[in-house]
């Protein structure tokens, strides 16, 4: 079989594109679902926190979080059925252990620093979740570290420089940013 150097170049380019597409697809699998759902929960929850008062805010947060977690779990399970790996079980256990340890560490840190006001509590919980995100990025997909770092920066900017509009800031830039990023990963990446 003989082919020209141009044909060889085209074939290598096709291989490179396909390899990159597959790696991106695997690395982002499910990430867009989690991002969009978390973004919607943030948007609803933080808008409620900014504009409403009283126990209704608590119920809105709990309702949105429970619905979001259930929906994310179902969609991710469906999505993950498209690939099987002999090492997936062990990796899933390690990831689960990381989140459990991080949750324990978060609770311990909150207990030590208590009492906190609403903004401090919000920022600390978000920072712990985002540390988990960064660890997941280091383990599974380096590129997904960047959105995590951007969200951390946005949260800190809002906390230190825009305390009066902090929750609105988180709803629009944090929640909206996550939704936009999730849609970008789903349709353009």
């Amino acid at each position: 079989m003989d082919i020209s150097p141009n044909e060889a170049e085209e074939a290598l380019e096709a291989i490179q594109i396909m390899t990159q597409k597959t790696r991106h697809s695997i690395a982002s699998s499910g990430a867009h679902i989690s991002l969009i759902i978390t973004g919607i929960v943030w948007m609803i929850g933080f808008l409620a926190t900014q504009f409403l008062q009283g126990v209704i805010v608590f119920y809105i947060w709990v309702g949105a979080s429970v619905l979001g977690a259930a929906l994310g779990f179902m969609l991710n399970i469906r999505n993950n059925k498209r690939m099987r790996s002999p090492t997936a079980g062990a990796t899933a256990k390690r990831i689960g252990a990381i989140w459990v340890l991080l949750a324990v560490y978060c609770l311990a840190a909150l207990a030590v620093t208590w009492p906190l006001d609403g903004m401090q509590l919000t920022v600390l919980i978000i920072l712990f979740v985002l540390v988990g995100w960064l660890v997941m990025g280091l383990l599974l997909s380096i590129i997904s570290i960047w959105p995590g770092l951007i969200i951390i920066a946005l949260v800190l900017i809002g906390y230190f420089f825009l305390p009066d509009y902090f929750y609105l800031w988180l709803a629009i830039l944090g929640g909206g940013g996550m939704i936009a990023l999730g849609l970008y990963i789903r349709f353009r990446w």
Binding site: S4, A11, A14, M18, T19, T22, S25, R84, S85
Partner: protein, 97 residues
């Protein structure tokens, strides 16, 4: 010197092998995942997969998930080896330009 492989060189089969070889050894992908990734029809993909399977380059694992038939596909070690040889052959053609 590495040689070109006619079975692999066809455009869809080349992309199928590139996708499967970029997975970790032992990892399998669902038929519909591969179809969406390659943007081809079910019939087209099925025909090319049969050729690669007959050559021993890929393995089709037919199973049931929640009572629905599913086909998972992975590259065999022979498939990985010949794909690597094919890539080396392509690179040597470009170098000899």
């Amino acid at each position: 010197m590495a040689e070109l492989n006619e079975t692999i060189h066809q455009s869809v089969r080349l992309r199928v092998m590139a996708a499967l070889v970029s997975l970790q050894p032992g990892d399998e992908v669902d038929f519909s995942y591969l179809r969406d990734l390659l943007d081809v029809t079910d019939g087209n993909l099925g025909a090319h997969l049969r050729k690669l399977e007959d050559a021993g380059y890929i393995q089709l694992n037919k199973t049931f998930v929640e009572r629905k038939p599913r086909t998972f596909i992975s590259a065999t070690s022979e498939g990985r080896r010949v794909f690597q040889e094919h890539v080396e052959a392509l690179e040597s053609i470009i170098k000899s330009k």
